[in-house]
Symmetry: C2
Subunit: 187 residues, 2 copies
Amino acid sequence: MSEAVWRVLAARGFGGLTLRAVATEMDASTGLLTHYFPSKKALIAHALDLADERTATRPLRDAPAPGLPALRAALLDVLPLTPDAAAMNRVWVGSWDVALADPDLAARQRDRYGSWRGRLRPHVAAAVARGELPASSDVDDVVASAAAFAHGLVVHALFDPARFPADRQTAMLDDFLASLTPAVRPE
Amino acid sequence: MSEAVWRVLAARGFGGLTLRAVATEMDASTGLLTHYFPSKKALIAHALDLADERTATRPLRDAPAPGLPALRAALLDVLPLTPDAAAMNRVWVGSWDVALADPDLAARQRDRYGSWRGRLRPHVAAAVARGELPASSDVDDVVASAAAFAHGLVVHALFDPARFPADRQTAMLDDFLASLTPAVRPE
DNA sequence: GGGTACGTACCGAACGTTTGTTATGTACCC
DNA sequence: GGGTACATAACAAACGTTCGGTACGTACCC
């Protein structure tokens, strides 16, 4: 069932997420859907949870080292570098319209992204502790900036994949991270 | 009429943009709407054009100086620092779901953001020319990074306005711009 | 261990509403 | 009086939701 929801979402977005579309996708009746979801909103909530779960359980690249390299790995995991990652991001970006229109869903998204920043935070803190970032850095600001940069890059890459191939996204991320580190002047 | 479309969009997003919602909003009939819009898709396209127009004609802060300050001003104009700007961004972010679901609209968004980056480009080029940015900078990458950063910050600020008040957004942008400039070591 | 009771899983059809679209009518303007 | 600017009404389709009915497992009783 979740598979069908995901396929509908990836193909038609949240605007095309209907009980019948999901039912047809899985060759079932609308009765099945309503049996598990008391309302349409519950379906939408499940779709968001589904995106959450797929995001959480997707294979992550392991961080080569704590600090900046770990942050880099975590952000690379978010970018639409592969078709699967692009589909995932397409769902997330698409969810923003419906989430912003509903206070409950908006609050859940707020918490979601808050906790994502929370998971990014240790990497930034470690980077500061290891001297990769200036000690004067505001950790929360750096975290938020990195999260914002990644999400914005996701959007631009989704709309213009030709101009933002995987290697350019990676290069841009590396430049961004490099710009965070204090410049070392050649002697 | 455009005013009514805008109000519906700001309140209910693209998922709640219907002919009748707009008609009710302006105390008119659906016949009026269909008189001007041959189809629903035309309505959506108009909504996007409307967002475009409002984006283009909104009062912009004038750049205090060419180069980096001009880039800063242009990006500040995008961030949801005021309720009006937040409403505008809410519409833009909401448009991404419907845009990603329709190839025509997706192409138009792609061009839109491409031309926005095009308008940002001279400022970055000027910054390089003036020595505010390293001569080794890839202008297009810097432009895209700045655009991505701003758009990502928009998303996070929309979902969590309490954690991203105007002054923090501004501070984060300033930090981002500062990180682009080569560090100057105190003698 | 056969019968009964009951909860869960699901189908299929129908409900009433909302949707986009179309058709017809009317007032007004040049 | 022909064209523009709407209103009004109706349309079929799609929508979320409700509901009666079937199948099946599981527990309990005697």
